[in-house]
């Protein structure tokens, strides 16, 4: 999935190169048909690298998804069987619902929380830099390190967080045994890790609002809430669209952190789609079903993002 996204980004960069590169200066402007198309060569490195990092691997997956592979030399064409199975298998469906639920919760918590942090951050002065650094800190930590930090932090015996909940608050908490506790741990970890992204995006959006808007609100006697609701929030539409899209995609494809913290357990409590997929593909080496599964997975992300983006941009007009 990750390679897929970089590929798309790379393609866009390539596109910009083409539009930015003017036709050769020696060519006469008078005859637009004889334009110099050599600038296309500049796209070639991108095309090649995208081909090797994304297109060819993706085609391999497509190839696997329609075959039953016993060994590299022993394979049977099975048509769309794996796709039917990927959609019908109860385990997959459960993981799908679980992942969707997780993404929904992530969005419900992180977006409002991020916006609230952004609103509360100072607008000028020394504390701007201090607040920015403080807020951005979790974003700088690698995924697996985040997982390790939380795996230890949430432990009931030696982890500060887990110990506090158990002994100070007096609530029994053990994420290795209790599926609710495991779920909460993963959710809180994601909130801790990624709310800063939403906050930074929202902060950038808020900073772009000219001062007179706030002055006008003062003159009109608007309360703090009314100022937020009618001035700040409408102007955050753009950045929040991006934030929601990014957070949806990332949380829907979450892998490393739950893999490190819970390994998908206890039971299947935190087995998200990506964890299930990697078990299938790498653990059991069922490349056929895993191929079909990942294509369906890919499609879901694409469709959800497309629908979401279209709805949000349309309603803004």
């Amino acid at each position: 999935m990750t390679t897929e996204r970089t590929a798309v980004a790379g393609g866009q960069v390539g596109g910009e190169v083409v539009t930015a590169a003017p036709a050769g200066p020696r060519e006469t402007r008078a005859d637009p048909r004889r334009r110099d198309n050599r600038a296309w060569w500049l796209v070639l490195p991108v095309v090649v690298s995208v081909a090797f990092t994304a297109v060819i691997p993706l085609m391999t997956v497509v190839n696997f998804s329609v075959q039953d592979v016993f060994s590299p030399s022993d394979r049977v064409f099975v048509g769309l069987d794996w796709f039917y199975e990927a959609v019908r298998r109860p385990e997959n469906r459960e993981a799908f619902v679980r992942t969707l639920l997780f993404s929904a919760q992530v969005l419900l918590v992180e977006i409002p929380l991020g916006v609230a942090i952004a609103v509360a951050m100072p607008r000028r002065g020394f504390w701007v830099s201090a607040a920015l650094v403080l807020v951005a800190l979790p974003l700088l930590i690698p995924w697996n390190v985040v997982g390790t930090i939380w795996q230890i932090f949430a432990r009931g015996d030696i982890g500060l967080g887990g110990w506090t909940v158990n002994n100070v608050l007096g609530v029994g908490f053990n994420y290795t045994l209790d599926s609710t506790d495991a779920w909460i741990t993963i959710l809180v970890m994601d909130v801790w890790h990624w709310t800063p992204l939403v906050a930074l995006l929202a902060y950038a959006g808020l900073r772009s609002i000219p001062e007179p808007y706030f002055q006008a609100a003062q003159i009109d006697g608007a309360s703090g809430w009314a100022t937020f609701r009618h001035i700040q929030l409408p102007r955050l539409r753009g950045v929040l669209t991006i934030a929601i899209l990014l957070r949806f995609m990332d949380s829907f494809m979450i892998y490393t952190e739950p893999f490190v913290v819970t390994g998908g357990g206890p039971g299947n409590a935190t087995t998200f789609l990506s964890i299930l997929l990697s078990k299938m593909a790498v653990g059991q080496f069922d490349v056929g079903p895993a191929g079909a599964f990942s294509l369906v997975y890919f499609l879901i992300v694409q469709v959800v993002c497309y629908v979401f983006f279209t709805v949000l941009t349309r309603s803004g007009r």
Binding site: P210, P212, Y213, Q215, A216, Q218, I219, D220, G221, A222, S223, A226, H230, I231, P234
Partner: protein, 363 residues
């Protein structure tokens, strides 16, 4: 409506090292239309924000009709302010925009409806009431912003901070006459900030010229034009601005170089600067009255009139003459300064005016 009195009001953004607005005492009288005129960065907007309460002045007190409002926040002052570019609640309809200040103040629904209808009629917004405000063009958006200020029943003053900057020229005239109309109909005190002298002169009952954080002159447009009290006013108002020529006073006679140009009654000897508007400089081929020799350097033919550029010594002087002036570049000429329209400045401040020589002088 109220008289707005500033007593020793000054503002500094850097803790008193420099003043954006130097401490001043000034009264904005009720129901008058003022233009606050000055170059960019002279403190116009700061002064306006002090009146509206967006800024609390570093020094001095602000009174509305004797009520001390220095510490009263903006919302408690009943001031309407229109900004340089339209400030609207973009996702609301025009109607909701107009109603917003009243809703915030918990005005009864019926009253809101009545006021909105009144204002929309006044501004000609009736056909736009249900449109989303962000879809209007900037001119109409600016009118809506204005309406949001006028919708409150008790408005002490309407402050306009260069409101026509974003509006295209054709609509500017419409808007300006609309503003005048509103002023006539409602009798609100208007304070209109601008750096455009035409705008200020056509709009206001009284023009207040601000420079470097201080009021240098206030008066009716003609007064500012005909008798500037400060060199800056002379420069800033008029197109082109007032000519300034270094001279000196000797025994009651004003001399430019060796030439006597007029008398300066009661002025102690020393350097002065002569200020005279291009409109009043007379240019002739021969010396017909006390005047100074000059060299014509160029002529701008403006259609309705000509602008003759000349050099006295090394100081440029512009004379505005009737179209079809016979002057040629390179020709020698004499400039005459009419006594009643020529002023003398010391340290940029007017210290007297030129008087006829009446036979005095040496040349």
């Amino acid at each position: 409506m109220a008289d707005i009195r500033l007593e020793g009001v000054g503002h500094s953004y850097d803790g008193g090292r420099t003043w954006a607005v130097k401490p001043m005492t000034w009264t904005w009288r009720t129901s008058r239309a003022y233009a606050l005129l000055g170059p960019s960065g002279c403190g116009k907007t700061t002064l306006l924000n002090i009146i509206s309460g967006l800024i609390t002045p570093t020094a001095g007190r602000v009174y509305f009709d004797g009520r001390d409002v220095t510490g009263v926040p903006t919302a408690g002052r009943d001031i309407a302010q229109v900004f340089q570019f339209p400030v609207l609640y973009e996702e609301m309809s025009v109607r909701d925009n107009l109603a917003f200040p009243l809703r915030n103040r918990k005005v009864p629904k019926k009253e809101i409806e009545r006021r909105v209808r009144q204002v929309s009629e006044l501004l000609g917004l009736d056909h736009l009431l249900n449109r989303r405000s962000r879809r209007l063009d900037p001119g109409w958006q600016q009118i809506v912003s204005l309406g949001r200020g006028l919708v409150r029943a008790q408005v002490a003053a309407v402050l306009l901070d260069e409101p026509l900057t974003v509006v295209d020229p054709a609509l500017k005239w419409t808007l300006r006459s609309k503003l005048k109309e509103i002023h006539r109909d409602t009798g609100h005190t208007l304070i209109y900030v601008t750096h455009d002298q035409t705008e200020a002169l056509t709009f206001a009952d009284e023009v207040v010229v601000l420079n470097d954080g201080a009021i240098v002159q206030a008066g009716e447009p003609t007064e500012l034009f005909l008798s500037p009290a400060h060199e800056f006013v002379g420069h800033f108002i008029g197109s082109p601005g007032m000519n300034v020529l270094p001279a000196h006073v000797e025994g009651g006679v004003v001399r430019v170089g060796q030439a006597d140009v007029g008398a300066a009654d009661g002025l102690p000897p020393g350097p002065v600067r002569i200020g005279v508007r291009p409109e009043f400089v007379e240019i002739t081929g021969d010396r017909v009255s006390p005047g100074v020799a000059a060299e014509v350097t160029g002529i701008d033919r403006m259609g309705a009139y000509d602008l003759v550029h000349a050099l006295v010594g090394e100081h440029p002087v512009i004379a505005r003459t009737a179209a079809g002036s016979a002057c040629e570049p390179g020709a020698a000429a004499f400039l005459h300064f009419p006594a009643e329209r020529t002023f003398l400045f010391r340290d940029q401040v007017r210290c007297g005016s030129l008087a006829p020589l009446n036979g005095r002088g040496t040349a």
